[in-house]
Amino acid sequence: MSGVVKLALGVAAALLVHLVGSRLSPDFPRVMDVFLVVVAVHALSGNTLTGLLVGMAVGLVHDTLTGGLYGLHGFADTIVGYGTARLAQRLVIQRASGVFLVVGLASVLQQVVLVGLTFLLLDPALPRPQWVGAKAVACGLLGMLIYAVAGSMGRNYESRRRSRMSRLRLE
């Protein structure tokens, strides 16, 4: 599956989870930003160019569904996408716990940028620190889960492909 299709599916899934989650609980967007998880997990590939472009595009999709200035999440997610990709270039992330840390950090960075921007441009109500922490942990956990599931699916696919190839050779 090409990267673009994977990304489009990821964004569509994030949109669905966001809409259903918001419908089920008004606190859902307070503790989980699925769009950020998509940006951060995508940026783990280490490509800074696609990291920043995907961050901007996904952030603008998120902005369409939130109030306030259009472009706030676009700006914040551009920084998060680029920053996460730069971090991924310097770190060797092999365990899911590493992904948890990186995505959690990305969530904190995004919230700091959002609050800073709204302070500069508007007069916002500050989010409570416990929500910032809860969101970082929740995003980190989701990122870790996606990473682990995607990794295990990839390994399964590869082993099935190898066994099929070896059977073909034997025949």
Binding site: R23, L24, T48, T64, G67, G71, Y82, L122
Partner: protein, 284 residues
């Protein structure tokens, strides 16, 4: 592209976005073409989720409520009778008001029609609050007031085909010209940082003004957006403010956590040429 070039691109993209954001601050009530296009694409998805979830909750509720419906029906019939009586009295009063108004040559501004619109997405959790409506084939218009049976919800800020984005009155950047029903004292209602951001504040009411806990606050009809008399909230606390004004907290008339359908008010706003001719009004 090498890392250095990507770094420059990042700076360029961020600078462009900052300029875009800064340019949007003075007129943040109006959406961009990009935002409208985004809403046009994402609106149907939000509506689909809303319809499916309403279908599920509707069928579950119908099973649960089936037994209670007969009692409720009787109670509603009694209420309808009571309301019919009240309506008779109210229309009597209305006719009397019209007669008195005609005697002194008073022409009240037209109240306007209302039409229902489904809420397809609510964002109550972000720093700034909003909801997305499906208005049907007759689109909403920018600055159109949005009501619920309990009172004022907000105003339309972006229109994209049948979808519209609404700025709630609990948004910190929203401002509503309002007055106390008892004393007619006017002020400006804004979203409050208190109560997890679901509260309201009434600003610019001087310390010497008579305002009490329990006073009902309605729209004053002075901001060119909302007509007079729509319930906004009730005063829950009055404290002496920093210098000249009271610090007044309001409980909103509307339960923003229970909105699934709202009403768009088709009333005639103050025409733009008149607003633009007022001193101190910024021209866009």
């Amino acid at each position: 592209m090498d890392e250095r070039r990507t770094g420059w691109l990042l700076i360029l993209v961020l600078a462009g976005q900052l300029v875009f954001l800064a340019s949007r601050v003075p007129g943040r009530g109006h959406g961009t073409a990009l935002e409208s296009a985004g809403l046009r694409v994402l609106g149907p998805a939000a509506r689909l989720v809303a319809v499916i979830s309403e279908g599920f909750s509707g069928s579950r509720e119908s099973l649960v409520l089936h037994g209670r419906m007969i009692d409720e029906n009787r109670a509603l019939k009694r209420e309808v009778m009571d309301l019919k009586l009240r309506l008779l009295r109210a229309s009597d009063l209305g006719a009397e008001m019209a007669r008195l108004g005609a005697a002194v040559g008073y022409a009240a501004p037209p109240a306007g029609d209302i039409r229902a619109a489904d809420v397809v997405y609510v964002d109550r959790a972000s720093l700034l609050r909003t909801l997305v409506l499906y208005a049907g084939p007759r689109p909403a218009r920018v600055n159109q007031p949005v009501l619920s049976p309990e009172g004022l919800v907000g105003r339309v800020v972006v229109v994209a085909g049948p979808y519209a984005k609404v700025q709630l009155i609990t948004d910190r950047a929203a401002a509503v010209g309002a007055m106390a029903l008892r004393t007619r004292r006017q002020g400006v209602v804004r979203g409050s940082a208190r109560d997890l951001g679901f509260g309201l504040e009434l600003d610019y009411v001087p310390l010497q003004a008579d305002i009490r806990v329990g006073d009902r606050i309605v729209t004053a009809g002075i901001d060119g957006v909302y007509p007079r008399g729509i319930p906004v909230g009730t005063v829950v606390s009055v404290e002496p403010g920093g210098q000249l004004f009271h610090k007044i907290a309001l409980a909103p008339a509307v339960d923003f956590g229970a909105l699934d359908q709202v009403y768009l008010l088709d009333h005639e706003p103050v025409p733009d040429p008149i607003k633009e001719a007022l001193p101190g009004v910024r021209r866009r």
